[in-house]
């Protein structure tokens, strides 16, 4: 498999993805010295778990996301996916960005099928898989539309379907609902939980929206800035579906906000 080296010695047995002492230093240029963006970040996400990553702006959430996805190289430490070290992008991780990044020259169905074309599935299997994914995100009737005619929420559904089509074991999402309106965001959150429940994927979800994290996550990794590091990991012990009016919900939101605002 591309981008993954065999090495399983140090991975926690049940972890789907493990970050092990991940650090990132950007070399300084001229007057400014080197910048330590991430320092010794370690946590793991168990198989089938939904983990949210929250933190103040500038805490290196997106850098960490890119390192986990194999798109940026860490200066120190490593990322293990199912026990093997991640050294580059791999189809075992589905990646969803805030700005969708759909291929504008491909239709909805062709976008969803993009990764499948590079798999060993037969054309008939690919088509069936595309249909299945479109059905999963409710976009079957838009299969021949180009992305330009879709709303933001629909584009993000296509992006999620596209990343799930190749059947990755881990789904990585970087503020995926940051660019849509509040109402659409709540709907997409519910849909993502449905998809998670029906596919059993492991999810690592980056967000700056604390209420979103409390709505979605089994556990919340709260980060601190300068340098970006793990401040605390909060278990969210509330039954789903979670109601925002609920006292326990509000308590978790308050606690995570406090952790974020606590300063370095």
């Amino acid at each position: 498999m591309a981008g993954v080296n065999g090495d399983s010695s140090l991975a926690p047995a049940e972890a789907s993805v493990a970050l092990d002492g991940v650090g990132k230093t950007y070399p300084g240029d001229g007057d400014g010295g080197a910048v330590r963006a991430l320092d010794d970040v370690s946590f793991s996400v168990a198989d089938g778990e939904f983990v949210c990553l929250v933190g103040p702006s500038g805490c290196g959430k997106t850098t960490l996301f890119r390192i986990a996805a194999g798109l940026t190289e860490a200066t120190d430490g490593r990322v293990l996916l199912d026990g093997t070290e991640v050294t580059g992008p791999t189809t075992d991780m589905g990646v969803v960005f805030q700005e969708y990044h759909l291929f504008p020259w491909l239709t909805v169905a062709e976008n969803v099928g993009f990764g499948l074309e590079r798999s060993d599935r037969s054309p008939a299997e690919q088509e069936a898989r595309v249909d299945e994914m479109l059905d999963l995100v409710g976009l079957t009737e838009f299969r021949d539309a180009y992305p330009k005619s879709l709303s933001g929420g629909m584009k993000q559904r296509v992006a999620i379907a596209r990343s799930l089509a190749v059947d990755p074991s881990l789904l990585l999402l970087d503020e995926p609902f940051g660019a849509v309106d509040a109402q659409t965001r709540e709907m997409l959150q519910r849909e993502l939980l449905d998809v998670w429940a029906s596919t059993g994927k492991t999810v690592l979800f980056v967000t700056h929206d604390v209420a979103e994290a409390v709505t979605l996550a089994d556990r919340i990794v709260v980060m601190a800035a300068d340098p970006g590091r793990v401040r605390e990991i909060v278990d969210v012990d509330v039954e789903r579906p979670r109601e925002r009016g609920n006292a326990a919900f509000a308590e978790y939101v308050g606690r995570v906000r406090e952790l974020i605002g606590a300063g370095p």
Partner: protein, 267 residues
Amino acid sequence: MATETASPVGEGDAFAGVGLGDGRRLLRGAVGVAAFLLVWHAVSLTQDPFVLPSPVAVAGAFASELASGDMTAALFQSVQHWIPGTLAGTGLGVAAGVAFGWSRLLDDLTAPLVRTLRPVPPLALIGFAIAWFGINDWGAAFIIAVGAFWINFYAAYGAVEGVSEDLLDVGRTLGVRGDLDAVRSIVLPASMPGILTGIRTGLGRCWMLVVASEIFGVPGVGREIIRASNNLRVDRAIAYILVLSLMYLLVDVAFRAVERRALAWRA
């Protein structure tokens, strides 16, 4: 589930604004042309025909050249320069532009060379055209190809440089591996709008270069313009210039239609 509204395939918007507004634009264009012809005619009455022939004289020259068959023969000869020159220049220009725009190594290797050769006008290469190909169709095609090459090279180069890094990242997470796969599946389609604009610009520019490419004696429309000018037959010269304009217009309209089809996905 999909409770948001969106139009399927977004038909309709492309033709918004056609209708009354478009008719008015055509009418205004016609008025402008008529006014221009009137002024031209009025001025030509005060001048010798070798300084400025009247539009009527030009129309007469056009008709007689067409009737004699000279015009179609010249056009046919020029097309034989234009087609191979444009094809070769466009093909090589797009290929080189994509390759150098994508590969940092190729770009670094060739940057000094490209910057030295770029300002050389195609016409300055007539010596090479004669030496390498002779005073014939291939020499003329060479001059045209040089012009087409640079336009397409820079259009493709810029378009490829502008391809979003994020789309390439998405591609990598979906299994795109290696330069060839990335160029074929992401870089080329993403830069197609820029490449097509380059091709269209090049197609027009090549009709202008037809004149230059025939300056050293290869027969064709350009040669007829130069000969008519040398004989102070300005009416004939303008008649042949009109042939170039018409060809340019024809090719441009046809290519725009192709472009619209190819880029139907574009917002």
